[in-house]
């Protein structure tokens, strides 16, 4: 890595805070997002665009649900499971929520250990995160199977009420599940990079040729937390409404 040589012993001027800081950051004729690696700023901007995608889905879901004159199937009953002889409402969804939140917790700790250059802990925590993510996708596959085969829900209709239920459900949870699956794949890739020492040795990436740095663990973490964040909204407005 080419280290720029600090020829001056004078400390850099502190960046202004507050509104003044926003104005000076944006008008500095340099990069606007200071103190963050550009990859992280770009991940944030990607996540902003993804926010708009999921918001469009959830708002259109609200629109079709409010405007339908057919009764909406009760999610509390549709997603109930019979466990040990008791019918428990929404239990599978609750477990999925806890699994995903736990994966967010392990991811946050992986980022922390990554910046400490603790290879072993970072690798283990990334693998646990990936395993929890894969568990989530597995449970979602179970949920879809049950809904399609047992409840007879289709994107164009279902026996319980408004046809829009199926189309909205499969589109929103399908998109979210795809995000989780892609996240699991990238978590495994990042975990391998950590274990192999790519981030310590600054080994160039396979596709981008960028030097390996521990900031990629945090950037991966941003994506993963976002997936959890989207689930928070889906859980609240789709399953609890």
């Amino acid at each position: 890595m080419t280290q720029a040589i600090r020829t001056s012993t004078v400390e850099p001027l502190p960046l202004p805070e507050g509104v003044e800081g926003i104005v000076s950051d944006w008008s500095s004729d340099q990069r606007a997002f200071k103190n963050v690696p550009w990859g992280k700023a770009m991940m944030w901007i990607f996540l902003l665009s993804d926010t708009f995608i999921f918001s469009s889905f959830l708002i259109s879901y609200m629109t079709v649900r409010m405007s339908t004159t057919e009764p909406w199937p009760n999610p509390s009953e549709v997603f109930a499971l019979t466990l040990f002889g008791h019918k428990i409402p929404l239990i599978l969804i609750a477990i999925m929520t806890f699994v995903l939140i736990s994966s967010s917790g392990t991811m946050a700790m992986a980022v922390k250990f990554g910046y400490e250059k603790n290879k072993k802990m970072t690798f283990i925590l990334l693998l646990i995160t990936a395993a929890l993510g894969a568990t989530f996708v597995g449970m979602q596959a179970f949920e879809w199977t049950k809904l399609i085969l047992e409840e007879g829900v289709r994107p164009w209709g279902n026996p319980m009420g408004a046809a829009q239920f199926g189309s909205v459900f499969f589109m929103i949870t399908g998109f979210h599940g795809t995000h989780v699956s892609i996240g699991v794949i990238f978590l495994i890739i990042v975990a391998i990079k950590v274990l192999r020492g790519d981030l310590d040795n600054e080994r160039p990436g396979f596709m981008t040729g960028r030097k390996g740095k521990y900031e990629i663990v945090e950037i991966m973490g941003l994506y993963w937390h976002f997936v959890d964040l989207v689930w928070v909204f889906i859980f609240a407005v789709f399953y609890l409404w």
Binding site: T7, M66, P89, A108, F235
Partner: protein, 123 residues
Amino acid sequence: MEHAERQQHGAAGQQHAHVEGQQHPIGIYLKIWALLFVLSAASYLVDYFHFQGYLRWFLIIVFMLLKAGLIVAVFMHMMWERLALLYAILVPTLLLMVLLGIGALEADYTFFSRGVFFVKGLL
């Protein structure tokens, strides 16, 4: 050459290299994790105990926003970022409230029209 390099990387990059990357004690992540568990359990219990009406809506939305806020602020480190990044992400997101409002108005209108023209005895 060296001067130019310093201009390019020195001014914006290396100067802040020691502050790039977020390092926080592990305790805060564990606390937020526990808090997210409690909030998720609470929102599940809203359904379990069959709260209805405005109380249900109020609780669901409060728990949802608290969870979202905690994830973005702590897990995604937004509370430690500079305001330039925070506002660049948060302001466009809040503008989605306009779309939400338009969607709700349109849905009301569609529901009303369907009631008038297609459903006998709804209105």
